[in-house]
């Protein structure tokens, strides 16, 4: 069973996965949280949400977050799947969820998720990870501390270098 790391107050920690990841061949369980494919969500999502269930949607790299916009305020999580670690489309999707659609739920990285991508993922707004390389929360905490500064604004809200310089100049 792959393990889940979540950012708790900004720090990575092991987390209990309260969701059942429904694969194509699985029947939808009668209770508890579920993660559905986009296709499955389109047919079953409304009913599950109406029944008060916790629902998440899993998008593959070719599916677009725009498809979820009408439901985002009711979705407990969005899982973005990396088919290969070199496929960078989901970074844009995570950024859009956070910056454009102000999505406040969990954005979970699944699939080819490697520790060395951690810095980029956190910066783009992912806050939950299912690493494929056996890495744990301590490793992720280490990766998140590698860079003392950042050059650009992103979904994590870190202050970029140009803003730090301006603040320093104003203090003088």
């Amino acid at each position: 069973m792959p393990k889940l790391i979540k950012l708790e107050g900004g720090a990575p920690a092991w987390a209990e996965d309260a969701f059942f990841d429904v694969l194509e061949e699985d029947p939808t369980p009668g209770q508890g949280g579920v993660i559905l494919s986009l296709e499955r969500f389109r047919s079953e999502g409304e009913a599950l949400l109406a029944a008060g269930r916790d629902v998440g949607v899993r998008l593959d790299a070719g599916e677009e977050v725009e498809a979820l916009v009408p439901w985002l305020d009711r979705l407990a999580l969005v899982a973005l799947e990396f088919p290969k670690f070199r496929d960078g489309r989901q970074y844009s999707q995570a950024a859009l969820l956070r910056e454009r659609y102000r999505y406040g739920g969990e954005v979970r990285a699944v699939g080819a998720v490697l520790l060395e991508q951690g810095h980029f993922m956190v910066r783009c707004g992912f806050d939950a990870f299912v690493p494929a390389d056996g890495s744990g929360p301590d490793d992720w905490a280490g990766v998140m501390k590698r860079y003392r500064h950042v050059y650009q604004t992103a979904a994590d809200g870190r202050e970029p270098n140009f803003a730090l310089r301006l603040r320093a100049a104003e203090r003088i």
């Binding site: 960078g88 950024a95 910056e99 860079y147 140009f162």
Partner: protein, 556 residues
């Protein structure tokens, strides 16, 4: 020039430390070679035919003496005593041992040099007009904007796993010295009628097996929106660029398949959405930061000098060799009494773009003494001393002559761009360097080269086109025919303001016949040309037939 502040220096230190961790994890078997490869590439380390190659970034092609001396030191200590300046204003060391890489990177970092994003599917080191800050025709110093883009693109969280590599060039003059239309994004600074500063934005140029000249998708982008607008372009590309086929993954394919208009529409829509959702405002670099960067580039303290230098004129009259150098390698400067001095790395018999450690140190010395401590790298694989007082040009000439770098051939037939080719590269089908040497030998007599005039010959050892053959006045592409090196010739190309892709002349010619074929092409031009026409002008006027007849008549 821009100097790293504490924040830049700490970014670089953190990167060096991170790469050391990644190498350690690789050696401990915690990450596979497949997983390590992109990490290694984003730090500029390629595995080539004989050894590792380290590609070191030279942002906006600008070096001070300390940096140039350090490159000389690294080449001498860890390589064979020379480096190779590339068509991307970078320098490559071709004989590196992996175990030395961390020590080299640490040594480079001490002077603010690095190999960040010189490879991999990310935004690569960004190039600028090598005459920036020195030529009179520029509307602004492009390096200011390239530095802003350097910071934005460095370790970009969203754009570090793009479908393919991504290259940006920034120019600021009507005369293009960046080859903007063959870039993924080419930017040209221009002024609107009301004096406002903005960029012409060209997207989707590129060479390789499917060459395109990048169409303009926006005539005028106000400078304050530069970073958010480029973010919109990159986001459209990151989401929609092809990832199923490495040969169709560059942005040029996306732009060509959508059409420039539709691509532009998608970019504008994304950008408008970024403005609406508030992210654009946070991404764009504030004026105060641009001013800070600008201040670093305008610090050159020129002195008042007469426009005419008696010393320069006297040397021209006395020494025909100096006069020739002055005609071809010395260009007008924006400040009266100064000149831009081009240093050709194309001496006959040498490898285009190669420079020895001794030469680098001597150039650093000349730059420190005569050019406000600045050296530039031209994408045509030459160097430049951008700010030399006319009075000092004779001394600079003498200094260059002493190290074998006074070849007066800038823009002439022997000033050839060539990729490393099969002598170094795993991708190449054929050698490029010996072909360049054989052609250059034909024009070794400077009087002959001068008579022929401007002629841009570009040679690639394979279809990936690192030698820009599609945009050469004469382009030469190495192909493998049953184990033999053959070369396809193209005519009439240009990557500059008169951009065009070259036309294929006819069947490929065997390696030993290439220089002879070039000779026949040049003879045809000399016969056909009218007053003031360059080779490329004559070709574009008369077309293929006479050139074809000349080359294939001789071949048979």
């Amino acid at each position: 020039m821009y100097r790293y502040d504490a924040l830049d220096a700490e970014m670089l230190a953190d990167r060096t430390a991170e790469f050391a961790i990644q190498v350690k994890r690789r050696l401990a078997g915690e990450i596979t070679e497949e997983q390590f490869k992109p990490l290694r590439l984003m730090n500029g380390l390629y595995l080539q035919l004989h050894a590792y190659m380290l590609r070191i970034a030279i942002p906006y092609g600008t070096l001070n003496g300390a940096k140039l001396r350090r490159l000389a030191h690294v080449a001498r200590t860890y390589d064979k005593g020379y480096g190779h300046f590339s068509t991307r204003q970078n320098i490559q060391m071709h004989w590196i041992k992996l175990r030395d890489a961390p020590a080299i990177l640490e040594s480079l970092a001490e002077v603010g040099l690095h190999a960040i994003q010189t490879s991999g599917n990310c935004i690569r080191n960004i190039t600028a007009d090598p005459y920036a800050g020195a030529n009179a025709e520029e509307v602004d110093d492009p390096r200011v904007w390239v530095e802003a883009l350097r910071q934005w693109s460095t370790f970009h969280p969203e754009f570090s796993f793009l479908p393919r590599k991504f290259k940006i060039a920034v120019g600021a003059s009507p005369n293009d010295r960046t080859a903007a239309r063959i870039y993924d994004i080419g930017l040209k600074l221009r002024r609107a009628r009301d004096g406002a500063l903005g960029f012409e934005v060209m997207v989707g140029g590129g060479l390789g097996r499917t060459p395109y000249l990048g169409p303009t998708i926006r005539e005028f982008l106000p400078t304050e929106h530069l970073v958010s607008y480029l973010s919109a372009i990159l986001r459209v590309y990151n989401r929609h660029g092809r990832r199923d086929n490495i040969w169709k993954a560059r942005i040029k394919i996306l732009v060509a398949s959508l059409g420039a208009e539709e691509f532009a529409r998608q970019v504008e829509a994304e950008w408008s959405a970024m403005v609406a959702d508030g992210s654009a405002a946070g991404i764009d670099v504030p004026h105060a930061e641009i001013d800070r960067i600008r201040a670093a580039f305008v610090e050159t303290r020129f002195t008042d000098r007469p426009a005419r230098s008696e010393a320069f004129e006297a040397a021209r009259a006395a020494d025909p060799a100096f006069a020739r150098f002055a005609r071809h390698n010395v260009v007008a400067h924006k400040v009266p009494g100064y000149a831009i001095v081009n240093i050709s790395l194309k001496a006959p018999g040498e490898v285009p773009g190669d420079c020895s450690s001794d030469q680098m140190e001597a150039i650093a010395g000349l730059a420190e003494r005569y050019s406000f401590d600045e050296t530039r790298v031209h994408y045509e694989q030459n160097l430049i001393l951008p700010h030399v007082a006319l009075d000092d040009v004779p001394a600079v000439f003498a200094g260059l002559k002493a190290i074998g770098l006074s070849t007066p051939n800038i823009g002439l037939a022997s000033d050839i761009i060539a990729c490393p080719g099969l002598d170094y590269c795993t991708l190449a089908n054929a050698r490029a360097i010996p072909i360049a040497q054989a052609i250059a030998a034909k024009f070794a007599d400077p009087a002959v080269a001068e008579k022929v005039g401007e002629l841009r010959i570009k040679i690639s050892g394979c279809i990936n086109a690192c030698g820009h053959h599609h945009v050469g006045h004469i382009g030469i592409l190495g192909v493998d025919k049953k184990g033999e090196e053959f070369y396809q010739l193209t005519l009439g190309g240009s990557g500059l303001e008169d951009a065009r892709l070259g036309d294929v002349l006819g069947p490929a010619v065997a390696g030993p016949k290439v220089a002879q074929a070039v000779d026949a092409l040049v003879d045809t031009y000399m016969r056909e040309r009218t007053e003031g026409e360059r080779f490329v002008d004559t070709y574009r006027r008369v077309g293929l037939p006479p050139f074809k007849a000349a080359v294939y008549a001789e071949a048979h």
